[in-house]
Subunit: 187 residues, 2 copies
DNA sequence: GACCTTCTAAACCGATCGGTCTATTAAAAA
DNA sequence: TTTTTAATAGACCGATCGGTTTAGAAGGTC
């Protein structure tokens, strides 16, 4: 029996894609082992507490990525450049809409109750970071908050419709529209 | 043992709420019987093909409701009034964001593959009906299509964020913003 | 080379899965 | 009243669930 050695970071990334495609309840251990080629032995070696730990670490991993790649830049860097980079990071992270938002998907059903604070924190920080950046760029508080909320809402909605319609173009079109509106307000 | 008699339409509505809350995979037969008080005997009497038939009939039921309450009015009635009614129907159907869109939720994971054409048809017709109404109200084709798409995207995104943030106000705020923007373009 | 630790493979476990079946009830049809 | 039919309750079934355990392979250390 051939033995393949994985790193934990590989395991997190591989299992993440399975949860993304199947949802928390849909991702059975047998589907996870089949799709990742990680045996149960490996999975329970990396995640002794099982499925719930896998999901928790995956979400923490995603959250950490967003913090360094999007939220902190928005909070710390020059707003117009940071916002411009946010649109590009968003498009590439979600693969132009071909990849769903795992955190958003978990929020829709009662999987939400297992990970309430993680889910809440992710979206809250995204909106707050973006709104903060818009305020630094000169917008009034209310307007910044509304525009930031509109952007995150639009991103999530576009991900849903991209999958629902099997349409590879709607996500890019939505990002472009949101971005254009934001730049119009900023100019 | 007390015997409660249900109508099939009751069964469809009750089971629908369970799928809405738990998703397709999360809604196990035992959860369905526990939450609806319908026994397995009743469920398999109404839906001899089981879970997949339940979901299919629920989606058909939802689709039919949307056709009569939203899509046909948009297609047949005076556009401005029909659009105004659409916003109110949307707000009340989704209970101001406290109720998720079952079709949108199914679209996110591989449940989508079981019901591809139903999911596609629902969102396609919604966008087309709204765009058609906007064209009748005087908008150019492109602008109508973009605005309709933006509205449906926004509704879906707001439903996701309402659950993610546990925020009862974001859905109404999003609808108001979308509606205001649409009316600004129409005036 | 012997030994220990890390990691993988897969058999195995009780619980739960979706689905079937039988018994029974209530009401309609005769 | 008797018979038939539609519907409900829940025990039951094999398969699959998430999780545990055992066995052994690979690699480092001495």
């Amino acid at each position: 029996m051939a033995r393949t050695v994985f790193e934990k970071s590989d395991a997190v990334a591989l299992v993440a894609e399975v949860f993304r495609e199947l949802g928390y309840e849909g991702a059975s251990m047998s589907e996870i082992t089949a799709r990742t080629k990680l045996s149960k032995g490996s999975l329970y070696h990396f995640f002794p507490e099982g499925k719930e730990q896998m999901a928790a670490e995956i979400m923490a991993d995603i959250d950490a990525w967003f913090v360094t790649e999007m939220f902190r830049p928005l909070e710390e860097q020059e707003p117009r450049a940071a916002i411009a980079r946010m649109w590009e990071t968003t498009d590439s992270y979600f693969r132009s809409g071909r990849r769903v938002c795992l955190i958003g998907a978990f929020a829709l059903d009662e999987t939400r109750d297992r990970f309430t604070s993680m889910i809440h924190g992710y979206f809250h920080r995204w909106i707050e970071a973006l709104a903060g950046s818009l305020i630094k760029a000169g917008l009034r508080n209310n307007e910044a908050k509304a525009l930031a909320e509109e952007a995150v809402v639009g991103i999530q909605g576009a991900l849903t419709l991209a999958r629902a319609l099997g349409d590879d173009t709607i996500f890019g079109r939505t990002l472009a529209r949101l971005r254009q509106r934001m730049e119009a307000v900023l100019s």
